[in-house]
Each structure stands twice: as C-alpha cells, then as structure tokens.
C-alpha cells in the first residue's frame, strides 16, 4: 500500500503542475496581457517602462516567466493583492482556507453518513411509502437549481422564520471585548473536528485489528465513540472560547445544512441504486437460504458491497461540492476561498483570483488523495497487493 500511495502522491504533484501550467497560459493568452496597464501607459517615459518591464520580468522569454511563476506558487509567493493593497495574497488565502475547509468537510461527511444510511434503508424497503417519499424529495433536491434553492433557504429560515442569521461569519457586537481573533477560535474548532475524526478512524482501525469477536467489537466501538463525543463536549464546555465558538457555529448551521441537503440527495439516490443492484446478487439469496438474520444481510452482506461505488463517486463529488461551496459562500456571504475568488474576479484583482484558483485546485487534489487512501483501505485488492 505504501507503493500505491507514493505513486498517487507523485501523480498528484504532476497534476498540480499541469494545473498551474493551465493557469499560467490562461493569464498569458489574454488579449492585451496583464502588464499592458502598467507598460502601455503613454504618460510613463520609455526608461521607466523598461525598468517596469524588467521588474515584472516581462523582458524574459515566456518559458523563463513560466518557471518563475511555478517557483513562486510553490513557495507561496503569490504577490500582493490589488484590492486589499498591502496584504499579500498568501495571507488573504490562508485566512480564507480553513473556512472553506470547514464547509467542505462538514457538508461532505454529514451527507455521506446520512445519505448512505437513508439510501440503504430505502432500498431495503422498496415499494414502501417511505421509499417513494424519500425518492421524490431526493429527486427534487437533486435537480433543483442550487443557487435558487440556497436563496430560498436563506429567505425562509433567515428572514421568514428568523431562526438563523442572514449569512456572514460572526455577530460583530459579541466580539468587541473578545480576547481572541475570529480565526484563532475557528481554527481551534477545526482542529478539534480533525482530532475527533482521526479518533474515529483510529477506533475503527484499532477495533478491527485487535478485537475479532463482532459483538464485542461493536460494543467497544460504541463505548470509544461515546468517549470521543464526551471529551469533545467537555473540552468545549470548559474552554473560555466556547461563547465565541458558539457564535460562529450558529452562523454555520444554515450554509452547511443547505449544501448538505443537495449533496445528501445525490448520495441517497446513488446508494439506493447501488444497493438494489447488490440485493440481486446470488450471495444475498444464499445468505437468505442459510437463514442469516435480515438485519445482518442488509448491513453486512449488501450494504458493505453497495459501498464501493458510493466511495468511487466521491471523486466525482469533489467537483460538485467545491462548485456548490462557491455558490453557498456567495449567497450566505461566508468569507471562504470561493467568496474571495468571486470578489477578486469582480474587482479584477488578478493575483488574488489566480491564487484562489490555485488553492481550490490544490484542495481538490488533496481531497482526491484522501479518497484514494480511503479506497485503498476499503478495497482489499489494493490493500494487499499495493
């Protein structure tokens, strides 16, 4: 498996370089290149133009410029924003990155867990009223035009019912005397989320490895999961940051729910059809004939095998969640990478736009890597042969 992962990592790096190449030529293929607004100005004397050209590196051949660009991106030297002048692009993007990561992670994880369970149940009870209801809801959610749906959610829950705030990241009035910056609190939230996730992964791996007996394994797992949940809760109850974290969390509910709902529908539909395929297999028939309990057939025999196509779909889902994330960020004014990209594009802040695009590309690649690792764990053919 180590070999498989090394190869994947190398592939990802090459892909990232290709992506950067596309970005570079996208900028350079523009009619009247980016330098024209400095170099083409008739009020600037020719000597000053020459100095500017040299400073911008425009006197060098295209290939040298290209190498320079790649080097700059890889060392996070992305330049200075036109719009927020003294701030560097890297600074702006690194502030925005955790927020996008949070939206992306929570929406993906929630929709996969809930969507898989729903899809499993619905396929099991084919033809029931619950199945029809879920199917209709899912198809509606799946085909609805997402920006419109997000606007409606904002209107209904934010304005009509007044349950949730109308977008943004926090309530400024509560933060006047705050001893922390918003990002400090937020990054702590993200960190605890990561630790909890890693804990869950560790528990699953550990119990699989060391406890052979299924009933004991389930019991141990439940206890350890409860332990993780309790320690998380305890940490946030004791922490002096909890008041501010609660404010941020309150602002995240609506955007995360909206993005999750649409994505959840897709997962449910996919799991259902995958599960229906699996239920027609011979080994399900055999298990029934052997007298294996129905619940065990559903969870152990069918759902496990129905899981593989759903996991593969994660690769396609990444693009979907990233696109949906940009729309969500724009409508709920959630200050992440997507909103940064859109705002930069609107005021023609090219360094920030290009930097944001590179970051989003990197995020997509990283998500693919995670998907590959997960897949390697799930599929013994890769796990064993590697």
């Amino acid at each position: 498996m180590a070999r498989y992962l090394t190869i994947r990592l190398l592939q990802m790096f090459v892909l990232f370089l290709v992506f950067l190449t596309i970005l570079f030529f996208l900028i350079n293929a523009q009619p009247g290149d980016i330098s024209a607004q400095f170099v083409g100005n008739p009020d600037i004397p020719p000597e000053a133009k020459q100095i500017l050209r040299e400073r911008l590196g425009l006197d060098r051949p295209l290939f040298a410029q290209y190498l320079f660009y790649i080097k700059n991106v890889l060392t996070l030297n992305l330049g200075v924003s036109f719009d927020h002048y003294p701030r560097t692009v890297a600074d702006i993007l690194l502030t925005a990155l955790p927020r996008t990561l949070y939206l992306f992670l929570s929406a993906t994880i929630l929709s996969y867990i809930v969507g898989f369970q729903t899809g499993k149940m619905v396929a099991w009870r084919r033809g029931s009223l619950a199945e029809k209801g879920t199917m209709v809801t899912s198809i509606i959610l799946y085909t609805v035009f997402y920006p419109w749906f997000a606007i409606l959610m904002l209107w209904f829950f934010g304005s009509q019912l007044n349950w949730f705030p109308l977008g943004k990241f926090l309530t400024p009035a509560q933060w006047f005397d705050a001893p922390y910056t918003a990002n400090m609190v937020f990054n702590t939230m993200l960190l605890t989320m990561f630790i909890a996730l890693a804990g869950v992964g560790l528990v699953i791996w550990g119990t699989n490895r060391f406890i052979a007996e299924p009933v004991q394994r389930t019991r141990a797992r439940r206890m350890l999961f409860a332990l993780i949940a309790v320690s998380m809760l305890a940490f946030w109850l004791i922490s002096p940051m909890s008041r501010f974290a609660a404010d941020i969390a309150y602002h995240t509910v609506l955007p995360v729910t909206t993005l999750t709902l649409v994505f959840y529908a897709a997962i449910t539909l996919l799991t259902r059809s995958s599960m229906l395929e699996t239920l027609r297999e011979d080994y399900i028939f055999t298990a029934r004939a052997k007298g294996v309990p129905e619940k065990v057939i559903r969870d152990r025999h069918a759902a496990r095998n129905a899981m593989l196509p759903v996991t593969t779909s994660f690769v396609l889902a990444i693009a979907f969640v990233i696109g949906g994330g940009i729309v969500t960020e724009s409508i709920f004014s959630w200050p992440g990478l997507g909103l940064t990209l859109l705002n930069a594009v609107r005021v023609e802040d090219l360094p920030v736009a290009m930097g944001a695009l590179a970051f989003i590309g990197l995020l997509a690649l990283f998500a693919h890597l995670v998907a590959d690792i997960l897949y390697a764990f799930l599929d013994p053919r890769i796990r064993v042969q590697g």
């Binding site: 198809i139 035009f145 606007i151 409606l152 209904f156 396609l316 729309v327 859109l342 594009v345 690649l365």
Partner: protein, 354 residues
C-alpha cells in the same frame, strides 16, 4: 462498386434504413413510454420548446417590442398616488410622501395632489402575465427568450461533447496501448479540474457568450468524464465477432471504428447527451447568476437581477421575480434528467422494473 443492399432487395437503400429505423424507434418508444417519469420529462421539455418557439412569433405579431422586448423593453405600471407629508404615510399603495414624490420627479410636491408613479417591479397584471422585473421588463418574455438560450446552449454542449467523447472513446478502445493511456490520463486530468472556479476566472478574463461556453463545456466534458464512460462501452463492442468479420472482409481500421464500433456506442451517447444538457444549463445559470457571461438574457441573469437589486429576501412577496426563473432552470434540468433516466432503461435492459 457493388452494393449488397441493391443486390438483395429491389427497394432503395434509404427506404430500408428508414423502415428499420422507424421500427426500432417504435419498439424503443414503447419501452420508454412505460416509464411515467420519462414521459413527464418529454412533456416538460416540449413545454419549454413551445415557449422558445412562441417568443419570436409573439414579438412579431402581438407584442410591441418597445414594451415586451426581454432586454430593451420597458413598461412601468403607472399608479396614481396622493401626496401626504413625510411620516404620515398610512397606506403606501395609495399614498406617497413628499420626499418620495420628489424622487419620482415631482419637484414641488403639494399635499393632496395626485401624482402618477411608475411602479417596477410590478406584480402580475393583464398586460404582463408574470409581472415585470426591477427594470420594468416583462418577465414572461424574458422567460421565453431564456428558454431559447437554454436550448441553444444545451444543444451545442451536448452535440460537441458527445461527438468528441464518442470519437475519443472508440479510438481509445480500438487502438489501446499508448493512445488509450494518453487519452484516458487526459480524461482523468480534466475530471480533476475544479470546473466552476475555472469557468469563473475564464468568464472574468475573456468575453464568454453562449457559443463559447457551450463549446467549452462540450470539449471539457467530451474529453473528460463522458469519454471514459463511452470508452468502456466501446471496449464491450470491440470484442464482438462482427469486428473480426469486417476485418476478414478487408475493412480498414477507420472503417471498423466508424461503421462498426461507433454506431454501437451511439445509443449510450444519446443517453449522455441528455445529462450533458442538464450539466451545461446548470453551469450556465450559475455563471450567469454570478454575472460573468455576456448573454443577453437567461434564467440565471433573471435571478441575478432580482438578487442584485435586493429582492433576495422578499421571497413569496415578490414571487414573480425569483420563482419563474428558478423553477424554469429546475424543471428544464429535471425534464432532461428524467428523459435520460428513462432512456437508460431502454439502453440498459437490466434496469427495467420486473
């Protein structure tokens, strides 16, 4: 050259083709029409097609272009209001304050005077069945014009994507080896591209209209996801014995690809055309919603207008601004999606309900 069909039958070749084609069409339609949702999809798409065709006819006959043109038209609803002092407006429908009257062009307002005020957006009325937008343009006319744009974009994207994907898939499956790995690695790469952010940047750097966007989506999808799917189908076709027969009869590589592999991949291609349309429309509407495309009118632009003019949170109070456009994108997409699913059952017998 000898033509086997001429030798075997007296009928003209095109007539045989036509008969075979209509027979298979009737058989497939029978399977298709058993799927109620698929028929719903056809009805939905036909409805939007009707809207798109009706628009130029209406503009040429009944509708005055100065009023009903989707982009240039202007027809604020005139309402007479009585001027009352500031802060004493009790009924905003019939009364208007001094300040507001000045904004609307009455420079010296007097109390009790009646002024005519142009109202936009106006709710649905006799002249405008779906009301007018914040710039006093007819919503129904915009809706119909957008349907044209949607069909144009969908057709361009779907045809280019499927044409490219069928060729790429067939060639990759037929030749195998390095041609195959090159084309498939390329597809993997395109699959990895974050499409929406990339299109956002392209839309801001370049002038992107319907044709450019359609071709861009078509090429990216045709070399990417669709190519991978169609290649797997082409692989299944490649091992069929009729290819060997064609080879023995002296068929060239190109003959086998175009006459034996491609026609057998085409049914699946048609299926993916439907999904292609959905993807293209959603991308276009999202980009238009961000205001990044140079298209005169589309459903995304209608939502963008309502959103940027501050009607986002009006919800049902200004339903004619957000709902017709949003529902149109959704239903148009749903129509093609449902057709695609039903066609899936025609192409893929395993999916049919038993």
């Amino acid at each position: 050259m000898l033509d086997p069909d001429v030798l075997l039958a007296d009928e003209a070749r095109w007539r045989i083709r036509l008969r075979l084609w209509s027979r298979s069409f009737r058989k497939n339609w029978e399977i298709f029409s058993r799927n109620k949702l698929g028929v719903t999809g056809v009805v939905l798409v036909a409805f939007f097609g009707f809207l798109a065709i009706l628009h130029p006819i209406l503009l040429a006959t009944v509708w005055d272009p100065d009023i009903y043109d989707p982009v240039r038209g202007n027809d604020p609803v005139i309402i007479e209001k009585i001027i009352v002092p500031d802060g004493e407006v009790t009924d905003p429908v019939t009364q208007i304050s001094f300040t507001e009257a000045m904004i609307y062009g009455t420079l010296f307002p007097k109390e009790g005077e009646v002024v005519a005020v142009g109202q936009a957006p106006a709710p649905p009325n006799g002249a405008h069945l779906l009301g007018t937008d914040p710039f006093a343009r007819d919503i129904l006319s915009q809706l119909m014009k957008s349907a044209q744009a949607a069909f144009t974009l969908g057709v361009i994207a779907a045809i280019s994507a499927v044409a490219i994907a069928t060729t790429v898939g067939s060639v990759a499956a037929f030749y195998g080896g390095w041609v195959d790995s090159w084309l498939m690695r390329q597809a993997d790469l395109i699959l990895l591209l974050p499409l929406l952010p990339l299109l956002i940047v392209i839309g801001s750097l370049y002038t992107v209209g319907l044709w450019q966007l359609g071709l861009l989506i078509g090429i990216l999808s045709g070399l990417g996801a669709t190519a991978i799917i169609l290649k797997s189908q082409a692989l299944a076709v490649k091992v069929k014995p009729f290819n060997d027969a064609a080879r023995v009869a002296g068929g060239s590589n190109w003959h086998i690809i175009t006459r034996h592999i491609m026609p057998n991949v085409l049914p699946l291609s048609f299926l993916y055309m439907m999904f292609e349309v959905v993807g293209a429309i959603f991308l276009e509407a999202t980009l238009s919603f961000f205001g990044l495309l140079s298209i005169p009118m589309s459903w995304g632009i209608m939502i963008n207008t309502a959103h940027t003019q501050g009607y986002t949170l009006f919800g049902l109070a200004a339903w004619w601004l957000l709902f017709p456009a949003g529902l149109s994108v959704t239903l148009f997409g749903a129509g093609f999606f449902l057709i695609g699913r039903a066609m899936d059952e025609v192409v893929n017998p395993r999916l049919r309900t038993r």
